[in-house]
């Protein structure tokens, strides 16, 4: 436990970032699902639509865990002061920039591979924006307080999306294996 505490951020900070990850990833997935519902209604019954919902929420739950784990591992690998100190707001900001960047990528990808140069530019711009934002928030206390406040508000969604994700996952496991 002591080793965990030494290398990893505090539990409440991880939970705060997990809450934010659950919020953005589930909301995005939910948005796609709602967009699809009118066409599903033409040929699926309520049970089938609910199962599709369960698949999407279960996947979003696993994706949230994966993303949060990625951030936690990153914090363990980087020097303490870079990322582990203030993990709750740094993780939140990373999610924020990552989300904007992922949406941009989703919209700009057509059916051709964009090429290494374009990807390098995209990754560099994302990282630079993140670093700039992290530095700004690090040095401007009022901004930091505001970000932490927002992160805490968003993390409330943990109580909604965590049970939805867990129940969905159980439903899918039951469908596949039982």
């Amino acid at each position: 436990m002591a080793t965990f505490k030494k290398f990893f951020p505090a539990r409440h900070e991880i939970l705060l970032v997990l809450g934010a990850a659950l919020f953005v990833i589930h909301s995005w997935s939910l948005n796609t699902f709602i967009y699809k519902v009118p066409s599903f209604l033409l040929y699926m019954n309520l049970g089938q639509i609910s199962t599709v919902f369960a698949y999407m929420m279960a996947f979003a739950f696993l994706e949230s865990l994966l993303v949060t784990s990625g951030l936690v591992v990153t914090s363990a690998l980087l020097p303490r002061s870079w990322y582990r100190d203030g993990f709750h707001y740094k993780g939140f900001l990373t999610l924020l920039v990552g989300t904007i960047s992922a949406i941009f990528l989703q919209d700009s990808l057509n059916n051709q591979y964009p090429g290494a140069t374009s990807l390098l530019i995209w990754v560099s711009l994302t990282l630079l924006s993140l670093i700039a934002l992290l530095l700004l928030v690090h040095f401007v206390e009022s901004l930091r307080k505001f970000i932490i406040f927002i992160a805490e508000q968003v993390s409330v969604m943990l109580y909604l999306y965590l049970p939805i994700g867990l129940v969905s996952l159980l439903i899918i496991i039951w469908r596949i294996f039982l």
């Binding site: 990833i25 997935s29 040929y43 999407m56 996947f59 993303v67 992922a102 989703q106 057509n110 964009p114």
Partner: protein, 510 residues
């Protein structure tokens, strides 16, 4: 010639033979079914393949010479129709022998109604034939999953493709393929057809898939003029034929084989050899008025280019098919099989539209090829009476000595057990925006009979009848419905009666 009188003694002798003849009749039937059962049934479907683009049916361009050669020793059905205008209803009707209003797979992504799901060709032949099936169209593949245990060998969608991106056929999800498909392919990972439901992993997976596609295109795409053929995953035409031949080589016991190939479905990706073959010829398709239901209508020039590409893609596909036809001959499989070559629906390049995603219903979209090669057939037989995709299921059941399933709505194909019926009524329907479990309120319904076609467009913003004399006006350019000929009134009554009939069971439920 002398006539001998038939005596009372002769009559008694014959009478004595009666019990024996009764006893032997079932045995002779059994023997004949055993002989028939040794033949394979091979059904080959090319997706979005219109009969109107074949010289065999009067098209001025020779798009598929190898197929035409194959047809010289086959039965060619010149007026064969699909009851649907896109993969889901067209394939479901072909597999089940049911009309779209019965199987209810009428929406993009829709499924066959639960009570009909396993009423497929595989169950009809399950007592006599092993089964092997493959579909390179995800929607058709979903229908194969619905056949359940009756389909004994199901080749996965990605088997002959280059970049495997599909999730629903992963081992853990196979038992839940339909809902996994709707969740993954229609939600979480949309493969460029919309925003992925997965915020981070979606674009990442797409990047990896596009990279793989680029690598394949760079290493194996030299033969193709404008990129590799694509069916959500990229593939090579040659790989399809190689894979199919390998699968056919494994056949031992009498088998029912269903192979549903993606070509010539769009995107049309011809090889260099045929890319400009048809853009240089002097033939120009007839100019037809843009239809009010054609969304975002294309210019005539765009349609012409698209048609040229479609024909070039047909020619590219045909070149590969030559190897398959040669294999049928060399392996002796042609002498041991009934080979059906057909399509799930056609493709249209007119009236402001290229493709088949449309409520429009004209000859290029529903007139599909059907070519059947039977063991020992040495001459071409031509059938000019109208036939429908629904006829394939009862025909193959009959050919293999199985009883014709009670659910089958089609008739036996002429020359394969059936008789020609030129006055038959054929219905084709598109109701992709109508709920599958509700009465038909939004639809296009075409009735083809006696070489006339009556089409009803029934939509909230567009209600219209069109009526064409297909003998005098095969291009369907002169709508004579406003003149109200007696034939149109008669067919209108039949069409409306059909709608009332198919909607009646829903109204009973309510």
């Amino acid at each position: 010639m002398t006539h001998q009188s038939f005596s009372r003694r002769d009559f008694l002798k014959l009478l004595a033979l009666l019990p024996a003849s009764i006893a032997f009749e079932p045995l002779s039937k059994y023997a004949s079914s055993l002989v028939n059962n040794t033949n394979h049934i091979i059904i080959i479907v090319f997706d979005a393949w219109s009969a109107n683009n074949l010289a065999l049916h009067g098209y001025p361009r020779l798009t598929m010479p190898n197929l035409e050669k194959f047809a010289q020793k086959s039965t060619v059905y010149h007026r064969h129709y699909s009851p649907g205008t896109f993969t889901v209803p067209g394939t479901a009707s072909l597999l089940t022998g049911l009309s779209p209003w019965t199987h209810r797979a009428i929406n993009l992504g829709g499924a066959i109604a639960k009570e009909h799901q396993q009423k497929q060709i595989f169950s009809a032949l399950s007592s006599s034939h092993n089964s092997l099936a493959y579909a390179q169209n995800v929607y058709a593949d979903q229908l194969l999953y619905q056949a359940g245990p009756f389909l004994k060998n199901h080749i996965p969608f990605g088997e002959y493709n280059q970049n495997n991106t599909i999730s629903y056929d992963l081992p853990g999800l196979k038992n839940d393929a339909y809902l996994a498909f709707s969740s993954f392919e229609d939600g979480i990972f949309q493969h460029g057809k919309g925003r992925d439901g997965s915020l981070f992993l979606g674009p990442l997976a797409r990047l990896l898939s596009l990279r793989k596609k680029l690598i394949v295109e760079n290493s194996r795409g030299d033969d193709y003029a404008i990129g590799l053929p694509n069916c959500d995953e990229v593939f090579l035409l040659s790989d399809l034929i190689d894979g199919f031949i390998q699968a056919l080589k494994q056949l031992s016991e009498p088998s029912l084989v269903y192979f549903h190939f993606h070509p010539p479905h769009d995107p049309y990706r011809p090889t260099h050899k045929f890319y400009s073959q048809f853009s240089k010829d002097s033939w120009t398709p007839p100019l037809k008025k843009v239809h009010p239901l054609a969304e975002e209508p294309q210019s005539f020039q765009q349609i012409k280019s698209s048609l040229n590409l479609y024909d070039a893609y047909l020619a590219s596909w045909d070149e590969e098919l030559a190897r398959l036809f040669q294999f049928f001959e060399d392996s002796g499989l042609r002498q041991k099989s009934h080979i059906f070559i057909t399509s799930d629906h056609g493709e249209m390049h007119e009236r402001g539209l290229s493709g088949h995603s449309t409520p429009l219903m004209y000859e290029p979209l529903i007139h599909v090829p059907l070519i059947v090669s039977s063991p020992g057939q040495e001459q071409q037989t031509n059938i000019y009476s109208p036939t429908l995709s629904l006829d394939i299921l009862p025909t193959i059941a009959n050919l293999t000595g199985n009883s014709i399933p009670s659910w089958a709505e089609g008739q036996l194909l002429p020359a394969l057990g059936g008789v020609e019926n030129s006055a038959r009524s054929l219905f084709s329907m598109d109701a992709k925006t109508n709920a599958s479990f509700a009465p038909l309120k939004k639809y296009t319904l075409a009735l083809t009979r006696d070489n006339y076609r009556l089409t009803q467009y029934q939509y909230p913003t567009y209600q219209q009848f069109e009526f064409y004399n297909l003998t005098e006006d095969p291009g369907e350019t002169n709508n004579i419905y406003p003149q109200q000929p007696a034939k149109a009134k008669e067919m209108e009554a039949e069409l409306l009666q059909k709608i009332t009939e198919v909607n009646a069971k829903f109204e009973e439920k309510q």
